[in-house]
């Protein structure tokens, strides 16, 4: 496999010498996400395979090009899971792509994000140099946490060759409750539940209904069910899978989709768009969104940020603009890892 790394590294080195852009790509299932797609495609899929997995260590190490589906199937056979529930926007989604995008699914507020589960990475920087940060252990404070910095950096800092992740056991039992609620009432309830020691592992409000998933030991789930109220949804598991992968009706409207990450207690955004709430209120999806500027203002007022997730008018960029000091440090970090600016330029912000 080292020859694949050498090949990838030499492509990067050549691009750096010529100062031409490279577009790192796994399954290409998230081509719709982020800023401009520029440069020659650098395919990571030849570098695939699970390197190390011992269920009792709660750690899995796999190469960046490994299909997410292969990893999740392996974990499932051993009664474990990726607790951050990375969304799969297609069958070809790779681990490297999932980590580079840094997106997490419905379980995120309760079990942690993609970044929270990353323990270490091996990567190529923008000079083609092979680097290793973090490791396969749960606690590691030797050096800056470069592994976690890579998560969500959209391939602009490096190509992820290998990733070690913390994995967790699948819950023994799980059920979904549904009740009719207004959006305002649902946001209040979600937050109230999050402040109590209930085994809540997902929440969603859409089309006038509030859904909550309970996971854990059977007696705990049973006891919480009685306290939370609502009716058990027969298709609970499918509901959350469809939400996670954006296959439910809300996400298939074909309208521009915005992702708004804010204070969980913020009231409904009221921006004349269909609104879906998850993450105990901390994540709002808007379909058929109005002006991106209006959404960004509303997000900032609620202590967060907005991204134009899919479609829409992308001329004003897709991510919330950074404050001047943060933007400056982003550019400097980019230059530290990729001095010639060859890796996914423009994928995050237009100027790097």
């Amino acid at each position: 496999m080292q020859e694949v790394v050498d090949q990838l590294a030499s492509v990067i080195r050549e691009a750096a010498a010529r100062k031409t852009a490279l577009r790192i790509r796994g399954g290409g299932t998230k081509d719709f996400y982020g800023g401009a797609l520029r440069g020659e495609i650098l395919d990571t899929r030849a570098y695939a395979g699970v390197v190390d997995y011992e269920p009792t260590e709660l750690v899995l190490t796999a190469l960046g090009g490994t299909p997410l589906a292969e990893i999740e199937a392996l974990l499932k056979r051993h009664g474990q899971m990726l607790a951050f529930e990375p969304p799969r926007f297609g069958d070809g989604a790779t681990l490297g792509g999932a980590i580079a995008a840094g997106l997490s699914g419905p379980r995120r507020p309760y079990a942690g994000s993609a970044r929270d589960h990353v323990l270490g990475v091996r990567m190529l920087d923008g000079t083609g140099s092979e680097l290793k940060f973090g490791g396969q252990v749960m606690k590691n404070v030797a050096g800056y946490d470069v592994s976690r910095l890579m998560v969500g950096s959209l391939g602009t800092l490096g190509l992820l060759l290998e990733i070690s992740l913390k994995v967790l056991p699948l819950p023994v039992s799980e059920l979904t409750l549904r009740q009719e609620r207004s959006q305002t009432a649902a946001i209040e309830l979600m937050n109230a539940w999050a402040g109590k020691p209930y085994p809540v592992t997902a929440t969603c409000h859409v089309d006038g209904a509030l859904y909550v998933r309970l996971s854990g030991a059977e007696p705990a789930v049973r006891a919480a069910r009685a306290r939370l109220g609502g009716d058990e949804a027969a298709d609970g598991a499918q509901f959350w899978e469809a939400l996670r992968d954006h296959r439910s009706a809300f996400f298939r409207s074909g309208m521009a989709l915005s992702r708004v990450s804010i204070r969980p207690t913020a009231p409904p955004l009221g921006l004349h768009a269909a609104e879906l709430v998850e993450w105990s209120g901390a994540l709002r999806w808007l379909a058929g969104a109005p002006e991106p500027a209006a959404i960004r203002e509303a997000a900032a007022r609620a202590g967060g940020h907005a991204a134009l997730f899919r479609g829409g008018d992308r001329t004003a960029g897709v991510f919330q603009p950074l404050s001047a000091p943060l933007a400056k440090h982003h550019r400097r970090l980019k230059a530290s890892f990729d001095p010639d600016g060859v890796l996914n330029p423009g994928r995050m912000y237009p100027d790097f």
């Binding site: 009792t56 942690g112 994000s113 290793k132 252990v137 030797a142 050096g143 020691p197």
Partner: protein, 501 residues
């Protein structure tokens, strides 16, 4: 102040008095005289942190009372090219807050206000000097708490926790500091305010929040922190299991995890540690066994009852010779009090001790413990082992007497071999105490030149002139060449591209 003396006591270099007067005057231009110290007797108390083996009297101590003052201090220091070491409560165990004889020691102790608690959003906004435990105490009436609980939590400050990415005994289930922080305000050496993170669960751009956690005061000075608060578990119980063989205890840990249980805490102590603890706090540990495990379950009453039953069965099947379940919260806290008092307890039975902090893959535990036993014979020193077994973080405490000639040097060599072995089995030199000044040489064993270069580049991105906490956490390549123990990772790679002397 547990380990009294280690070898590397920094000699107090003669202070550049003219420079000292100039820097103090520049700071006193906007700060009260009482908040800018430089008389020997005033600055002496800041000469070390929790790793008191390393001492250095700072040139000037600045005690800002608000963020504006922090910003101006940093601007002045940047302009005058004075290095700055930030300090919280000074409980760190790796010398991260060791001052510089030509620098300003920036104490954030006066920034100790809990600015706001939002019970509905379950967050607390606090200043960096707030004690870890004070956050949970303030949140307790709301049924909430701050999860990371380093053993020093009654004294350590939250700013220091972020700088070190501190752990505690509940990490496996609730994560480290990095997993429990939502936002930071931090000021660069140039005096720019960085607002990192936000009130939501993620933010735009790079994950600077992750980068700041554990950056040991090298990138910016934190002035405000928003932490996540969690609902206090309804119920918690501890299972204590004793084993006549360390390997059986190690297997029991793996068996608990294999059963799909993520305990709230899972700790191991060997006989030397339990003996010391029992003499000190009478926690109720058996002292005639090779090893004990403390396994905590928390959650709803129903959940805990179910989980404790399962844990008991696993311990029994794994060969435990004694199992006790806490019958009351008082007993549960007594079991934990023993574990949390392990360091001071060992401090009572030995004139000095040296605390290590390697983390290893759990499956290599027995092997590492055998190695430590072997090294005890080699160096003729005893070692008590305390272990965050759930997450693989090992704290061997090497017992020695600094007054006996040669013991100190043997202790350091012993410690270095443990760290080297930790790397060899796929682990790391520090799980939660940080690199600081103490393990800066050992970084050369864990990382190659290319990674160290990136660390330096990251540092330069925030601090071009290397003024924030210089000399800590990341060694220069020159230093690694002098240390001469490069990169033992996987026991094969060398350091081909490095200038040597």
């Amino acid at each position: 102040m547990y380990n009294r003396v280690m070898s590397t006591v920094v000699e107090a270099a003669p202070v550049d008095l003219a420079r000292q007067r100039k820097v103090a005057a520049a700071l006193r231009a906007f700060m009260p005289a009482a908040a800018v110290l430089f008389d020997r007797e005033d600055v002496q108390p800041y000469e070390c942190d929790g790793l008191s083996a390393y001492r250095q009297v700072p040139m000037v101590v600045a005690l800002p009372g608000n963020e504006g003052e922090v910003q101006r201090i940093l601007r002045v220091c940047h302009e005058m090219r004075v290095p700055v070491v930030a300090r919280g409560a000074g409980t760190g165990l790796s010398g991260g807050a060791l001052p510089l004889g030509n620098g300003v020691l920036l104490s954030l102790a006066k920034l100790m206000r809990i600015v706001e608690i939002d019970p509905a959003a379950r967050t607390a906004r606090v200043q960096p000097g707030v004690r870890n435990l004070a956050i949970s105490e303030a949140a307790a009436p709301l049924g909430l708490y701050y999860a990371p609980d380093p053993s020093s939590q009654i004294a350590c400050s939250i700013g220091g926790n972020v700088a070190e990415n501190s752990g505690g005994v509940h990490c496996l289930k609730y994560g480290l500091t990095v997993h429990n922080i939502l936002a930071l305000r931090a000021i660069t050496i140039e005096g720019e305010i960085l607002e990192i993170g936000g009130e939501g669960l993620d933010s735009a751009g790079y994950d600077l929040l992750a980068l700041m956690n554990g950056s040991e005061g090298m990138l910016a000075v934190i002035t405000e922190i928003t932490v996540k608060l969690l609902p206090r578990p309804e119920h918690a119980q501890v299972v204590m299991a004793a084993f006549d063989d360390v390997e059986k205890a190690g297997a029991a840990v793996a068996n608990v995890i294999a059963a799909g249980i993520i305990p709230a805490g899972l700790e191991m102590m060997d006989q030397a540690a339990t003996l010391a603890v029992e003499q000190f706090v009478h926690a109720g540990y058996p002292t005639d066994v090779a090893s004990i495990l403390l396994c905590e379950s928390d959650g709803t009453t129903e959940e805990v009852a179910d989980e404790v039953r399962r844990i008991e069965a696993i311990m029994e099947a794994s060969g435990a010779i004694l199992i006790r379940v806490s019958g009351s919260d008082a007993e549960r806290l007594r079991f934990w009090a023993g574990r949390k008092a392990a360091f001071p307890a060992v401090g009572r039975i030995s004139p000095d001790y040296y605390c290590m902090d390697g983390t290893i893959p759990r499956k290599r535990l027995a092997e590492v413990l055998r190695k430590i036993t072997e090294l005890e014979r080699k160096y003729e020193l005893r070692c008590a082992n305390v272990f965050h077994a759930g997450d693989g973080n090992l704290h061997p405490l090497i017992l020695y007497d600094a007054n006996k000639p040669g013991e100190l040097e043997r202790t350091e060599a012993f410690g270095a071999e443990i760290l080297e072995f930790s790397i060899r089995v796929g682990g790391t030199i520090t799980g939660e105490h940080g690199v600081g000044i103490e393990k800066v040489n050992h970084m050369c064993m864990q990382f190659r030149g290319a990674e160290l270069e990136i660390f330096h580049a990251v540092k330069r991105a925030f601090d071009e002139h290397g003024l924030l906490n210089p000399g800590k956490a990341v060694p220069s390549l020159t230093r690694c060449a002098e240390f001469g123990r490069m990169h033992v990772h996987a026991g094969q790679e060398k350091f081909p591209d490095l200038p040597r002397f």
